[in-house]
C-alpha cells in the first residue's frame, strides 16, 4: 500500500472498461514446460546413431526432483536480487562506455603505432564487453526486474550486425527453448557445420574446417544471416507463403539498415573524424570487430559443441516437462573454466550450463550458483562439462574436422562413403547438396 494523490486522468481503466467488449476466456491446459508434474509415463529410447539416450538412467520421479531443486535455487536467487546487482550492471555499462570513448579518442591519433595498438586493444575489449556481458544479457531480460527503461530487453540495441529483435527471436526463443534438439535448434552448427554424429552429412561439410574459420572471423554477419534463416529461406523460396516472404523481406530490410549504420560508424565516420589517421583507424575498427567476432565465436562454440555434451532427438521433447527441459539444458551445455576476468569477458557464458538453466538470471549470479549446480549434477550421475577455453575450443575444432567426413557405415570406411558421393556428383546423379541420411542402427 502506498499513499499517493489520486490521479484520475492517468488511470486508464475507467473510460475503457465501460466501452470495452466483454468476453470470457476458456479454461486452458498449461504448457507442460511450465509444470513439474509429468503426467504420462515417459520413456527415453536410444538415439538413431546408436548412442544411449542421455536421460536414460533417470526415472521420471528423479527428473522431477531435480526440477524441484532447480526451481528452489532459482527462486532463492531471484528473490535476493537487489541494489548490489543493479550497481554491478551499471558499473559494467559505465566502464564499457568509458573504455569505448577512451579508445576511440586514442584512435584519432592512430597514425602513431602505439596509439594504434592501445586504441585497438581497448576498442576490442569494449566491443567484447558490449556484446557479451551487456548486450547478450540485457537482451535476455536479465535486468528487466530493475524497471529501468534504458536497461531493458525491450529497448536495448547492440553493436552487432543483427537487430536486437531478430536475434532475440532466433536465440532466446528458438535456441533456448529447443537447446540441442536435432532439427529444431539451428545453433547446432548454425546450419553451416556438422557438429554431432546424429546430424546428416552432406558433401558441403567436407569444407567445414575452413567454413568454421571464416564464420568465426565474420561471426556477426554469420549470426545475422542465421537470424534471417538466410540459407533455408533462399533454398525453399518457392515453397514460402506470401506472408513468409513478406516477413523475410521486412527482416532483410531492417537488417541491411542496421548493417549500413554499423559500417558507416566503424568504416566511414570514425576514420573520417580521425583525419590523417583515416586508414589506421579504419584498420583498427576492422581489427576490433574481428577480434570480437573470433572471441564471441570461440565462447559460443565452447557452450554446446565440446566433447561430452549431448544432443536430443526431435520427438524426444514432445510433451516435455519442466524437469526434462532443465535436464536437457544441463546435458546440452558446457562451461569454460578460468579467472574472474575470463568470466566477464565471456559475458558469463563461461557458465553456459547455469545460463541455460536460468536464462533470465542476472549474469553476475551464475558463478555463485555454479558449485550447487555442479554438485546436483554429479549427485545424479550427470556429466558437468567444463574446461579451459583453449582445451574446449580445440575439442570443437577437432570435432569439426572429424565430422567433415560422414559416419562410418557397416562394411564401408568413411572415405569410401565420400568417394561414392563424389562419384555420383561426377556422373551427374546428384547435386553437390545431395543429402545423405544417416542409416539408423535399426536399419543396419
Amino acid at each position: 500500500m502506498t499513499l499517493a494523490p489520486e490521479r484520475s486522468a492517468i488511470s486508464p481503466t475507467a473510460p475503457h472498461v465501460t466501452q470495452a467488449q466483454h468476453v470470457a476466456a476458456e479454461q486452458h491446459r498449461l504448457n507442460t514446460r511450465l509444470s513439474l508434474e509429468g503426467g504420462a509415463e515417459r520413456t527415453h529410447p536410444p538415439k538413431k546413431s546408436g548412442r544411449p539416450n542421455p536421460m536414460g538412467h533417470l526415472t521420471n520421479e528423479q527428473i522431477e526432483a531435480i526440477g524441484r531443486e532447480l526451481d528452489a535455487i532459482r527462486a532463492e536467487v531471484m528473490a535476493s536480487r537487489g541494489a548490489r546487482d543493479a550497481a554491478y550492471i551499471r558499473r559494467v555499462i559505465r566502464v564499457q562506455r568509458g573504455l569505448e570513448i577512451g579508445s576511440r579518442a586514442v584512435l584519432l591519433f592512430s597514425k602513431n603505432k602505439y596509439a594504434w595498438l592501445a586504441g585497438t586493444a581497448g576498442l576490442s575489449l569494449a566491443k567484447i564487453l558490449e556484446n557479451m556481458e551487456i548486450g547478450h544479457n540485457v537482451l535476455h531480460g536479465q535486468w528487466d526486474w530493475m524497471r529501468d527503461p534504458k536497461i531493458h530487453s525491450t529497448s536495448w540495441d547492440w553493436d552487432m550486425a543483427s537487430p536486437a529483435k531478430q536475434w532475440q527471436h532466433s536465440h532466446n526463443e528458438l535456441h533456448h527453448t529447443y537447446t540441442n534438439v536435432l532439427g529444431r535448434d539451428n545453433d547446432l552448427g548454425y546450419g553451416l557445420l556438422r557438429v554431432d554424429e546424429d546430424q546428416p552429412w552432406e558433401l558441403f561439410h567436407l569444407g567445414q574446417p575452413i567454413w568454421h574459420l571464416i564464420n568465426a572471423m565474420f561471426f556477426e554477419y554469420g549470426i545475422a544471416a542465421y537470424d534471417l534463416e538466410l540459407r533455408g529461406n533462399l533454398q525453399n523460396w518457392d515453397e514460402l507463403s506470401e506472408e513468409e516472404k513478406a516477413v523475410f523481406k521486412a527482416n532483410l530490410h531492417e537488417m541491411l539498415g542496421k548493417i549500413r549504420k554499423q559500417a558507416m560508424k566503424d568504416y566511414v565516420l570514425h576514420p573520417l573524424v580521425s583525419g590523417p589517421s583515416f586508414l589506421p583507424t579504419l584498420l583498427a575498427n576492422f581489427t576490433a570487430n574481428t577480434v570480437r567476432n573470433i572471441w564471441s565465436n570461440t565462447v559460443i562454440i565452447c557452450g554446446h559443441f565440446p566433447d561430452g555434451i549431448d544432443t536430443f532427438e526431435t520427438d524426444s521433447i514432445e510433451g516435455e516437462t519442466r524437469g526434462e527441459w532443465y535436464l536437457r539444458q544441463m546435458l546440452g551445455s558446457g562451461n569454460i573454466s578460468g579467472s574472474k576476468f575470463t568470466h566477464i569477458m565471456t559475458g558469463n557464458l563461461s557458465h553456459q550450463i547455469e545460463h541455460h538453466l536460468f536464462p533470465d538470471m542476472p549474469s553476475n549470479r551464475y558463478s555463485e550458483i555454479s558449485p550447487r549446480i555442479k554438485a546436483l549434477m554429479e549427485r545424479n550421475d550427470l556429466h558437468y562439462v567444463t574446461g579451459p577455453v583453449l582445451k574446449q575450443a580445440y575439442q570443437v575444432y577437432r570435432k569439426v574436422c572429424r565430422l567433415a567426413l560422414p559416419n562410418e557405415e557397416p562394411g564401408r570406411s568413411r572415405w569410401s562413403v565420400v568417394r561414392g558421393e563424389l562419384g555420383k556428383v561426377v556422373k551427374g546423379k546428384g547435386g553437390a547438396r545431395t543429402k545423405r541420411h544417416l542409416p539408423s542402427t535399426a536399419d543396419a
Partner: protein, 354 residues
C-alpha cells in the same frame, strides 16, 4: 541557420554513437543538462519528525517549475528496482537556488516513503515528471481561506503557505495529527501563527478525537464565507464533500485525495486490453497470452515458458501472478510496467497496452 547546424551536428553524433544515443554518453557526465530526460539530484535531507523528512532536490534544466499545491512524480531506485510515487511539493516555487522539495512521511510497509525518509542519501539521482495537479490557489488569492488538513495532508498546504505573502489573506488552518510529535512542520507552523500569516488550530486526535465537521460552526463561525482547501485521509475528504454539499457550497470546496492505492491481488479476474478495447474474464491458471488468444487477440509470443521475453507487454495498472512461482507483480495507476504474458495470469484485474 544555427538550428540547422545544431541538427546536423546531432545527426552526426548519433551516427557516430550508434547503436546507443549521444544522450547515453552525455548522461554519464551531465545527467541534469537541458534536453536530458528529466532527472533531479537529492541535495539535502532534513528530518521533520520521527517518520517524516524533507527531501531537497535540484531538478534538471528541463524542469518547468510548479504552482504551489501541485505534486511531482518521482522515480527512485529502491534496492535496485525503480519505483515511482507522487508527492506534494513543499518548497518555495522558483527558489533562488533552483531546488524543489517534497516531504514524505514513512507509512507502514511503504517501500518508497520508508526509503526516502530513512535510507535516501544526498547525491542520489532520481527520475522526475513535471509538476502536475490542480489543488492550487487561484489568482488573485481569495481574501478568506480555510485549510483543513490531516497528517501528511499538510504538505501541499505548506507548499502554498510558503509561497503566500506573510500578511494579506485571512487564513484559518485546522490541522489534525495523532500526537504533538507527529505534526510535520510544527515549529514553522507555530511561527507563521505567531507572525499572523495564519490562524492555526492543531488537534491531537489521539487525545482530542477526530475533527467533527459539525463543530465547524463553533470552530470557524464564518467558514461559509471562506474558500476551503482540504487534504488528508479519505474519511476526512468524504465528510468534507458531504458537509459542503449539504450547505450548498460545493463550489467553495477544493480537495486533494491522498488515497491509498490498494491493488488487492485475487485469483483470476479481468484482463483489459486497452488498445483493443476488450475485457477478458480469465481464471487464475490461464496465462494472459492464452486468454487473449482465445478471445481472438494475437499478442506477441515466443517460448511460452517464460525464458525468451518475446511476449513482454506494458501493464498500466493491476496485478498478475507468475504461474511458475506464485509471485505477484502489481502496477499502480501511472505505472508502466513491462510483464511477460506467457507465464503470468491475471490476479484481480490488469490493464495492458495491447
Amino acid at each position: 541557420m544555427t538550428a540547422g547546424l545544431a541538427e546536423g551536428v546531432w545527426k552526426l553524433a548519433s551516427a557516430i554513437a550508434t547503436p546507443v544515443l549521444p544522450d547515453d554518453y552525455l548522461d554519464m557526465f551531465a545527467p541534469l543538462r537541458a534536453g536530458a530526460e528529466l532527472r533531479g539530484r537529492i541535495t539535502a535531507i532534513h528530518r521533520e519528525t520521527a517518520d517524516a523528512a524533507t527531501i531537497v532536490i535540484t531538478p534538471g534544466r528541463s524542469w518547468a517549475g510548479h504552482v504551489p499545491g501541485q505534486y511531482v512524480r518521482i522515480g527512485i531506485d529502491v534496492n535496485g528496482v525503480r519505483q515511482w510515487r507522487a508527492y506534494s511539493l513543499t518548497s518555495l516555487a522558483g527558489a533562488p537556488d533552483g531546488t524543489i522539495a517534497i516531504t514524505p512521511k514513512a507509512i507502514p510497509d511503504g517501500v518508497v516513503s520508508n526509503h526516502l525518509v530513512h535510507n535516501a542519501r544526498p547525491g542520489t539521482l532520481v527520475m522526475l515528471d513535471q509538476a502536475i495537479g490542480d489543488f492550487t490557489l487561484p489568482t488573485p488569492t481569495p481574501d478568506k481561506i480555510l485549510f483543513i488538513t490531516g497528517g501528511s495532508g499538510i504538505t501541499p498546504v505548506m507548499g502554498m503557505l510558503r509561497n503566500l505573502p506573510s500578511a494579506g489573506a485571512d487564513i484559518v488552518l485546522l490541522h489534525s495529527a495523532p500526537r504533538a510529535e507527529d505534526v510535520v512542520f510544527a515549529a514553522e507552523l507555530a511561527e507563521r501563527d505567531r507572525s499572523g500569516q495564519i490562524d492555526l488550530r492543531v488537534r491531537h486526535t489521539d487525545t482530542d478525537g477526530m475533527l467533527d465537521l459539525a463543530d465547524l460552526d463553533r470552530e470557524v463561525p464564518d467558514w461559509r464565507e471562506r474558500q476551503a482547501w482540504v487534504c488528508g485521509p479519505t474519511g476526512l475528504l468524504d465528510a468534507a464533500e458531504l458537509h459542503w454539499a449539504a450547505n450548498d457550497l460545493t463550489d467553495a470546496l477544493h480537495v486533494e485525495r491522498f488515497r491509498p492505492t490498494i491493488i488487492e491481488p485475487g485469483e483470476g479476474g479481468e484482463i483489459t486490453l486497452l488498445g483493443s478495447k476488450l475485457t477478458i474474464d480469465a481464471d487464475g491458471a490461464t496465462p494472459i497470452l492464452d486468454a487473449a488468444e482465445d478471445a481472438g487477440v494475437l499478442m506477441k509470443s515466443g517460448c511460452r515458458m517464460g525464458i525468451c521475453f518475446g511476449c513482454v507487454v506494458t501493464m498500466r495498472q493491476g496485478a498478475v501472478r507468475d504461474l511458475r512461482t506464485g509471485e505477484i507483480t502489481t502496477a499502480e495507476p501511472g505505472d508502466e510496467l513491462p510483464i511477460q504474458t506467457c507465464i503470468n495470469a491475471v490476479a484481480g484485474s490488469c490493464d495492458l497496452e495491447v
